[in-house]
Symmetry: C2
Subunit: 451 residues, 2 copies
């Protein structure tokens, strides 16, 4: 099943555009136009001649051009009629935003819809979904105004979600935290395009480097398992409805019964899936996966200018099953010679509170050359007086010269925030807290260790 | 041991103020003056007549006024001399910022210092510390410029830390996230004022409602246990150096050997301590403890306008050992009558994506009256189109009328952030993610359940 035309259609018809710009169909129509989509866009409304300054067509049949994709947001009692019309017009790809099907108990309507699309050989994303964003061509079928939900920059993360609301919050945070998006797909009830179809599409999509998924239930376990085996990209999965009691609520949500948690975990572990336990995990893990950071061994060298952060980092290293690396004799000799006597030349390597940029440069450079470690965890506390913004350039230069990854932790607000952004802009991951950093390192390490 | 004069001195001498405003002593002197402290402040420098426009005294002995507190930041080779002078001047309270003692292996110097203060009956906070902030009188001995580390507003949280750097990052975040501070104490090597003395002081301090502690090692276990038993306030503890391997690094940090994790946990569980596992925990737990939120039973009712967040919240409820509450027949009847048919009247109660303010009002009001639950967990996703800022006032009104706590989760950036702040300003806790909210609820529930 090719989903190509859902993401790269030459022409789109929006069914249910109203004169009222706040109605769902109007927001969708406006978002597609405002987001820079270059294909043709048509507004359909049986009762108006013009909507928001654009010509309105009475139905898709009144449009002369070929239509690759229809986005439907008409009331549920009208969906069968308009889908039949799409069939007549030979539209093969439909996104249905409209809710009011199995998820509210109307199984009959959902069955009628399924028969209608099968008869007309239509691929349908939805119903009860937000639809798609292709960040590479400006196609954006979300019915959420941009002022409430800023869209992220172009990148390599594709995000697949059963729950539309969940998708919108993640999208909001992805954008605010400067992660970069490729595709977004909210597939809702998954009537005949399901999570596995989407995975198969993203598997071949060159603009997708990493997939994030929120799933509650899976329609076809074998198909999903195969899709997860086939995709050669990291797939971060958050599973909603882990317990019998909480999964009851998924029934009324997207109309699917969430499976038993253990079964899912067992399946995920055999595939390219990376299990996340919370929304926090998703954002932490993405920091490393998005930047293609690979950690090839378990020996971590900690550098810090604050003893407490060194200690907490050590705790996190051990809790996550990593090892504290040992400095080589050469490294120790260099560091003991060059650092002041109050510095601690060990692991953590504590360059102490009055460290300036050059002291960090020496410490990082020495540890990068040391063969006794596989990755550096560098705590930089910018509250101390002598560090400047130039440290970003220093770390960037060292990072570019070495194949060993550098993971930075910089705890703090305002001033620190600026420097954290500075590092992230140069694709050097920078976390708020040591615990989150090491947990993400563990996820990346486990993912690549069998490569 | 009374620490009163450390926090409320009538006069302060700063030893080691330089003409260079960037030197540690100068920053301390300037911070005390700029923070609105109303007592007398004296600068001591044996080589200058004036420093930064203020008269400099050659030693404390040259000052005629009585001095309640001396803050020492002279080089370590001079500390014995100046402490002797403090003794002669009858100064009984000394904060020593200077480092270079046991933490770098100079045990002899630390022993000499101890003898000197014992002989002169001096109470000493430090050495190797940041000192104190009393947010109620502007006393601020931190050597971190305010432009690098904004100070928080006045409040009821007191923060005690062995590690100065750790303290500075927490202070930075406390300030940025609008938590409110009472006292801050970085006690460093804890020479003769230790964590237990500080706890005993805060136990009686009326401006302290809740204590946050970062400890690596404890000097006197029995004394600490007694202090934790005696204090009738929540004490959130983060223990650094949990493992044998990671605790080695604490030796070189504040010169104390961290104890075995299990022993600490066992002790904490018998007292008023609340164990936190990470910096993230501290900030999450504080949201509820600071606002004096008490959760008196384990039955949680979830309200949401997004199915996915309802499901994730349910998972978190069960994972933390809480129960999903059941709506009473009366509540169900009201909600089924008033809410649209696509809403789900259950737990989670899903008011769905097109919910407006009044639909939330109805849902929250009905659940507050329902006796079948003990606390409401209200997810509000502001990405949906119909919710306005007035929802803050509605929730505030309902919250004021009811003794049952409301905990809000609002996932998102920019627009959401504004509304999250709006709720927090009215003392209604509002979290970014459901998992963090429920984990904090568990901490509060466990703390108060034996009351």
């Amino acid at each position: 099943m090719s989903l190509e035309k859902f993401f790269n259609p030459h022409s789109v018809a929006v069914l249910g555009v109203s004169r009222n710009p706040e109605k769902i169909g109007s927001v969708i129509f406006k978002n597609i136009i405002d987001s820079g989509y270059k294909g043709k866009v048509f507004a359909v409304n049986p009762n108006e001649e013009f909507v928001m300054g654009y010509k309105a067509y009475s139905s898709v049949l009144a449009i002369k051009d070929k239509i690759d994709l229809a986005v439907i947001s008409v009331p549920s009692e009208l969906v069968i009629k308009v889908v039949e019309e799409c069939g007549k017009k030979k539209i093969k790809n439909v996104i249905m935003v409209t809710a009011g099907f199995k998820e509210v108990g109307d199984i009959k309507l959902e069955e009628r819809l399924l028969k209608t699309i099968q008869k007309n050989k239509i691929k349908l994303i939805g119903p009860n979904c937000l639809g798609v964003i292709n960040n590479y061509n400006g196609l954006d079928t979300l019915f959420i105004p941009i002022y409430r939900l800023k869209r992220p920059d172009k990148g390599n993360i594709s995000f697949v979600t059963q729950s539309g609301a969940f998708g919108s919050t993640v999208l909001d945070l992805i954008s605010a935290e400067n992660y970069r998006l490729s595709k977004f797909i909210s597939y809702g009830n998954g009537l005949n395009v399901d999570e596995s179809d989407v995975l198969n599409y993203l598997s071949k999509d060159k603009e997708t480097g990493i997939v994030v998924m929120y799933v509650e239930g899976v329609k076809d376990g074998k198909k999903f398992f195969k899709a997860l085996m086939d995709i050669k990209k990291p797939v971060l999965i958050l599973k909603g409805g882990k317990f019998e009691k909480s999964s009851k609520s998924t029934l009324s949500h997207t109309g699917s019964l969430a499976g038993i948690n253990e079964v899912y975990e067992g399946i995920f572990k055999q595939t390219n899936a990376v299990i996340t336990e919370s929304m926090q995990d998703i954002f932490d893990f993405l920091k490393l996966f998005e930047k293609n950071i690979k950690i090839k061994g378990g020996r971590i060298q900690i550098i810090t200018n604050g003893g407490g952060h060194g200690v907490i980092s050590s705790d996190a290293v051990i809790e996550n099953g990593f090892k504290l690396a040992e400095l080589s004799r050469t490294s120790k000799a260099i560091l003991k010679k060059e650092l002041p006597s109050i510095a601690t030349v060990s692991n953590p390597l504590d360059v102490v509170g009055d460290a300036d940029d050059s002291r960090y440069e020496l410490a990082i450079e020495t540890c990068l050359k040391d063969r006794g470690n596989d990755v550096l965890l560098v705590n930089i506390l910018y509250q101390t007086p002598k560090l400047t913004k130039n440290l970003i350039n220093i770390i960037n230069k060292l990072n570019n010269k070495s194949s060993k990854p550098i993971v930075v932790v910089s705890t703090g607000a305002n001033f620190t925030e600026e420097l954290r952004r500075g590092l992230e802009d140069k694709d050097i991951p920078c976390f708020q807290f040591p615990g989150n950093a090491v947990r993400a390192m563990k996820a990346v390490y486990d993912y690549y260790k069998n490569d």
